[in-house]
Amino acid sequence: MSKKMYGLFFLWIIAAFLTSCSEKKQPAIPEDISFAATVNIKDMTISFVDLKKKELVGEWSMEKPYTGALILPDNDSILLYGKHLETADLYSLKEGKMIDSWETGEGIVNGILIDTNEIVLADQHLNKIRFFDLNGEEEKQVESEIDPLTLLESREKNKLFVLSFNHKKMGIIDLKSKVKSGEFTIHPSAAGAWLNEKNGEIWVGGHGEGVEIEQNIHVYDEETGKLKKKIPAASMPINFLGQENQVYVLSHGSNMLYKINESGEETASVSIAANPFEMTFAAHKLLVAGYDSNDLHILDPESLKTLKSIKVGEGPFKIVIRESVK
């Protein structure tokens, strides 16, 4: 009897050991909810906020330092990447587990899904812009300036603008042929950009160089790269979000959110969160993540009033949205 018990116990221990070795299973995220997910750098978690209920519905505790994410068109796969990771990992939301791993190598700092259902990754290790299909097959690599960071797609002109963080360069890639079609010089420590297609302008923010703090948005001519003007948006404007002749500008140095019209006039502003880096639209609401305050603010885009702020993991650095189709 007791021998049998020991045997069972032993088996149980082995089973526990083996399962602990296998991939960690995360709480499943139901298919039928729309959520905003924040990738939190400081505590290596991903927080899921139900956009309808405006509350936290799940949190994934990760084993790797992911810094960004992308939701793929199937609305269930989430691609997670990080600068110091060898792979970009694909997780299924409804299953809560890893389903694929793309051998990208280190250096991936940003990624966007472009109109052609391709994934574009900025690689600061190779200093290249890399194109992947949805199955993780690499299609093309395009040389960029050192330290590419911000990626901006012009759907109308089928172009991709690439901001080099430390090298005062803006590169332009033709998305059809996937070759570099031009570049122009910009200000240093540039981050965040918005394409004002109506005026043929590209608005670029930044952190400022050295001890200097960036106080302005630099407006360049989309074609010539000539600096047209500077729009004050103190301090450190680093995130842009265009919406119906308006652009929302997030300045992390002063914790300010500005609403600016196409001609560069400020129409509204609000002080928000603590050290906010990331901002996005979802369900007709504006979402802002506070990197130091560890929260996600849901704002009314018109009045800029905070409707609700929700605590998320520590150091939210990236927001991704999934709007449920069901």
Binding site: L149, F165, A191, H207, G208, E212, G253, F277, S293
Partner: protein, 467 residues
């Protein structure tokens, strides 16, 4: 170096001095460390208090010009370097973007500050290019790090203060060193003087002057050594006296027979004898005295041999009864002549492990004495066994020895009646030799006597151990 270590006093002095200097240096180091630690702790506490009180001027929101002015004004009045920083770049606000800039505070420090915990700095700061003791107080508006108040004191200032302390210490240490070395030297002198005295005394003794006596009162090891030395020198003196006495005795004992031999031989040479009979008598006397001298010299030789460590007994199992019987056999004519009755009762089973010749010599020496001092009496010899020993008793009814002489009877050349000549033929060494031999056999010889009644000599000897 040899010059320094060639005397105990110098060695002790060196040890004491080294101990004092090491103690001073060590205590200096320790107190310097403690002083610095206490001082640094104190500075940090006061910086924290100062910083917190300045931070209480901040009431949320962006940093105003007013508070900047206040801090600037305070900085101009205070010894401490104080400044306020609101530049988010300096506060590492852009951290995830890896901007190539050496910020004032780092990532972990920013996290601490965001929690409202002041950060402490001790050591080299690249920004100021010097060693500092600093404190950073966060200015938080809810969870926004709006700025910091940075307070620091260059560590050079702290070492300036400890330098003052060090001078004071050095002066005090110098005085202490001089005093303690002086006292140490005195102590070393006091401790080593008796040793020097002893050395002088030993030199006196080695020159043959045994009358030295050290006057050292201390009860410590040196005092004990001095006592031992005194005891040793008195022992040497006694031994020397014994030696002199012995030589005097030997020369005295020899002088008598020599003067006999000389006198009678001179008488014969000068023809003083009146008849052939006289001449024969003189020659007899010369022969007798010569024999006595021979015996005396033989006995002295035996005694000196016995006293040397090399003397070896040729031990073998001896049936003692047989040996005694053989030994007394030759005395029978003499005993008959002196009309002395001999009785003996010997246990034939007694066997000892001994040197046959030497044991016989013991019996002979004692028998000689008994016969010499007994006339018209009785000599009784008994041999018996007492547990693991045997007892030989030789009892006579001779003239006996008075109590005052009894204790000295075994000394060499001791005579009960000093006036008595050696006409009876004894050398005065017989009993001394007998006792020596008995002792060599791990035995014991004791003499009991009563004046005019008789003497008993008891010899205890260990029996042969049968394995």
């Amino acid at each position: 170096m040899k010059f320094l270590t060639n005397s105990l006093a110098k060695k002790m002095w060196l040890t004491v001095t080294a101990a004092i200097i090491i103690t001073i240096l060590y205590s200096y180091l320790l107190s310097y460390l403690f002083y610095e630690k206490i001082y640094v702790d104190n500075v940090r506490d006061s910086l924290l208090t100062e910083g917190r009180s300045l931070a209480s001027e901040y009431h949320g929101g962006a940093l105003t010009e007013d508070i900047r002015k206040k801090i600037e004004w305070y900085n101009s009045k205070s010894e401490t370097e104080i400044f306020i920083v609101s530049n988010p770049r300096e506060l590492s606000a852009c951290l995830p973007f890896e901007i190539d800039y050496q910020t004032l505070i780092g990532k972990s420090e920013r996290e601490e500050l965001l929690k409202g915990i002041p950060v402490e700095k001790l050591g080299y700061e690249k920004r100021f290019d010097r060693n500092i003791m600093g404190v950073i107080i966060p200015l938080l508006d809810d969870n926004r790090l709006q700025g910091i108040i940075y307070l620091y004191v260059p560590l050079a200032k702290i070492s300036e203060i400890t330098r003052d302390f060090a001078y004071l210490w050095l002066a005090a240490a110098a005085v202490f060193t001089v005093i303690s070395i002086t006292l140490g030297t005195m102590l070393v002198k006091k401790l080593t003087r008796p040793l020097l005295d002893m050395k002088d005394a030993a030199e006196h003794v080695s020159q043959g002057n045994y009358d030295v006596h050290l006057k050292i009162d201390s009860k410590d090891e040196i005092g004990q050594l001095a006592n031992a030395f005194n005891y040793m020198s008195s022992s040497i003196r006694k031994e020397d006296e014994k030696k002199r006495e012995f030589l005097a005795n030997v020369s005295h004992e020899l002088r008598t027979p020599i003067s006999y031999v000389k006198g009678y031989s001179e008488a014969i040479i000068s023809g003083m004898e009146k008849s052939e009979e006289d001449r024969k008598k003189y020659l007899q006397l010369i022969l007798r005295e010569s024999r006595r001298m021979e015996r005396l010299v033989g006995d002295l030789l035996d005694l000196s041999k016995l006293e040397s460590d090399e003397y070896k007994l040729e031990k073998m199992p001896l049936p003692l009864a047989q040996l005694i019987e053989d030994a007394i056999e030759k005395y029978k004519p003499v005993l008959r002549e002196k009309n002395v009755d001999l009785q003996y009762r010997l246990n034939p089973e007694v066997i000892i492990n001994g040197d046959e010749g030497r044991i016989e010599q013991v019996i002979q020496n004692i028998m000689d004495n008994s016969i010499r001092y007994t006339a018209d009496g009785r000599i009784c010899i008994r041999l018996s066994q007492e547990r693991d020993q045997c007892l030989i008793e030789i009892e006579d009814t001779g003239i006996g020895i008075s109590e005052e002489h009894l204790s000295k009877i075994k000394q060499r050349f001791y005579r009960v009646n000093k006036g008595r000549t050696r006409s009876d033929g004894g050398t005065g060494l017989g009993l001394a030799i007998a006792e020596k031999l008995v002792k060599l056999h791990q035995g014991e010889l004791t003499v009991f006597s009563e004046l005019n009644k008789g003497t008993t000599v008891r010899i205890m000897l260990p029996l042969l151990e049968l394995k």
